[in-house]
């Protein structure tokens, strides 16, 4: 257990520099986005009102007040989020493959540690998860700051203040990242975690059997997917409308946990019996 | 300490011979402390187990002795030292004769030649060793 925590710490520190860069880009880009967009809006309002073509209430009627909702849908805002998501998806692969890369094959060291090898797998999964949660937390902290900047730039009459819940709920993609209830949170991130486990296992198939392993990995992924969605597939086909929604949810939780357990078992087997260091 | 080791002869035999030469030449004095097995192995770049074997052999032949946990020492027994010297001289002379006999040189000529060469080498090596010290 002790070595597991040390491994998590080690893996985390290895990615920390890139991670901090991602955080920096997100903060800077989003805050610049808020400033640029609110200034654009104010400039437009000034042009119209100073130019005498309309009064401020006419302007608000015609163009509507500004809120974070508009700003969130710009590249300033979604760009860094997309960058973070893509980086973390690459990281899920990179966290394994870099140990085999280069002259200094760190994987020798990892596999000769006096600890169960599955701890390496758990440590890497934990690190990915911590990184994801960290970015989510960052976004949740940034939103109030950005709301405050908006309030600071744009006068009260020209803006609509939204709570974080309103912001995260109103925008479809955000609703996936920021579930409103604990149950939803567990479902969304449980599925995410399961996906990471499955991908990790597929990577270990490749690392154990190489070319053939790619095939095994893909087959494993497809089987995991089929198993996980089995209740939904049954519902949609032979058992048409057989389950209540709550039953379906419970069944999918069971299949999801089965996929996770299967991935851990399979990975443990591969790490102990089949893995190759070169 | 530098010893040129032959690759086809047991290393421990070569180490024992090296010690005999040093004793015979008087480079080791009776009762003088000798390096530990580990030190010797490190100095000669040989395996510590081999050094151990050489010491065991030398102890059996009475060339060195060890009291309790103290470092090993060269024997104080004058008779043993004398025998070592004699043994080495005879071995060397035997080897010399074996290689010179096929040439069929008269003994007197040979002795003269040996005297001449020997003093020459003596002179040179003495000069060398003076430089070194």
């Amino acid at each position: 257990m002790n070595r597991y925590f040390k491994l998590v710490n080690f893996e985390f520190n290895r990615f920390l520099k890139i991670y901090l860069v991602l955080i920096g880009i997100t903060i800077i880009s989003q805050i610049i986005g808020v400033i640029v967009k609110s200034n654009q809006y104010l400039n437009m309002a000034n042009d119209q009102i100073q130019g005498g073509s309309m009064s401020s209430s006419e302007f608000i009627n015609q163009y509507g007040p500004i809120s974070l909702y508009e700003i969130i849908q710009t590249l300033w805002f979604l760009g860094p989020i997309a960058l973070c998501i893509v980086s973390l998806i690459i990281y899920v692969f990179f966290i394994w493959y870099r140990d085999w890369l280069g002259k200094n094959t760190f994987v020798y060291r990892l596999f000769m540690l006096p600890t169960a090898r599955i701890n390496i797998y758990f440590a890497k999964a934990t690190t990915v998860f911590l990184m994801v949660l960290g970015l989510i937390a960052l976004q949740l902290l940034l939103l109030p700051v950005e709301a405050w900047i908006l309030q600071w730039i744009v006068p009260f009459d020209f803006r609509i203040d939204m709570s974080i819940r309103e912001i995260t709920g109103i925008f479809h993609y955000f609703a996936i990242l920021f579930p409103n209830t604990i149950v939803q949170f567990i479902i969304h991130y449980g599925i995410g975690f399961m996906a990471v486990f499955v991908v990790f296992t597929a990577i270990l198939f490749e690392r154990s059997y190489r070319w053939k392993g790619i095939l095994f990995g893909i087959i494993y992924g497809v089987l995991a997917l089929l198993l996980f969605f089995a209740p939904v597939l049954l519902q949609a086909t032979i058992l048409y409308e057989f389950f209540y929604p709550i039953e379906l949810l419970v069944l999918q939780m069971i299949t999801g946990l089965t996929v996770i357990a299967g991935s851990i078992w399979m990975s443990n087997y591969l790490l102990n019996k089949k893995i190759r260091i070169w | 300490m530098k010893v040129n080791l032959n690759k086809r002869e047991p290393v421990y035999v070569q180490v024992v011979r090296h010690f005999k030469e040093q004793i015979a030449a008087g480079n080791y004095e009776p009762g003088q402390e000798i390096p530990s097995r580990r030190e010797l192995a490190n100095q000669l770049k040989i395996n510590p187990n081999t050094a151990q074997r050489a010491y065991k052999e030398m102890e059996e032949q009475g060339l060195i002795f060890t009291e309790g946990n103290n470092p090993s020492r060269i024997t104080k027994d004058g008779k043993v030292i004398g025998t070592v010297r004699e043994e080495l001289i005879i071995q060397a002379v035997d080897a010399f004769i074996t290689s010179i006999r096929p040439i069929n040189i008269p003994v007197d000529d040979l002795v003269g030649l040996i005297k001449e060469k020997y003093t020459e080498i003596e002179r040179n090596t003495r000069g060398d060793s003076n430089d070194r010290s």
Partner: protein, 229 residues
């Protein structure tokens, strides 16, 4: 004792090891010699459970390798196993964090012996010095068995001399050492036992002093018989 029994290993359809058996004793330096091929490194990897085997059995002190074995036996591959951006001090910290058998006093001593500074980064070191750090990481573990893959290959002669010095020093103490090499010159007088591999099997396994004593042959003579005969 490390016991390798009837070890078989295939890469695809190619059989690289075809029933290899030998032992390496504690307190002895055993040298695995082969003039070409991947067999030697594969044996090392197999002993450390870093590659699956197709047949046979490997025992360390009578038992199969498990997670705690890595506190008793360690392997020094021919490339260093730490990250290039790490400082020497950080590599030692890593070892101290993960291994109970890590001996920092000995590590410091070895650094001094090799004249290495611990605030150097691995990426800044010469080949020879990298090899020395690699060796240090293994030697400073209080393990019973030390495996080294080609410790002399690809480095300058002075580093080679220094590394050879280690074998006859107290740094090895009475541990068991198993090393692979394809050239024996640097260490002929340092090893207790030679295991000659040829075509995936052990052709000869002998004690070097015995072979000199009984047959008047050098290790190279034995190699000539196996590889040229």
């Amino acid at each position: 004792m490390i016991e390798v029994k009837e070890l078989t290993k295939k890469f695809g359809r190619k059989t690289v090891l075809n029933g290899v058996s030998f032992t390496a004793e504690k307190g002895q330096i055993t040298c695995l010699i082969g003039i070409n091929g991947v067999g030697k490194t594969t044996i090392m990897n197999a002993i450390m459970a870093l590659t699956p085997i197709n047949g046979g059995e490997i025992l360390i002190n009578g038992e199969k390798i498990h997670k705690h074995s890595y506190e008793k036996i360690t392997f020094i591959p021919d490339a260093i196993t730490m990250l290039p951006q790490m400082k020497i001090s950080e590599t030692m910290q890593f070892m101290a964090d993960f291994y109970d058998c890590w001996n920092q006093k000995r590590a410091d001593e070895i650094l001094q012996f090799f004249k290495l500074r611990e605030d150097n980064r691995l990426s800044e070191l010469s080949k020879g010095n990298t090899a020395k750090v690699n060796l240090m990481l293994g030697l400073a573990m209080d393990v019973d068995f030390l495996l080294m893959d080609e410790p002399f290959s690809g480095i300058d002669i002075f580093s080679r001399e220094q590394i050879a010095d280690v074998f006859s020093s107290h740094l090895v103490e009475d541990r068991g050492v198993l090393i692979t090499t394809h050239e024996i010159n640097d260490i002929e007088h340092l090893i207790d036992k030679a295991v000659l591999l040829n075509n995936g099997i052990v052709s000869k396994e002998f004690n070097t002093e015995e072979i000199r004593e009984n047959e008047g042959k050098s290790v190279v003579d034995m190699m000539r018989e196996v590889y040229q005969g």
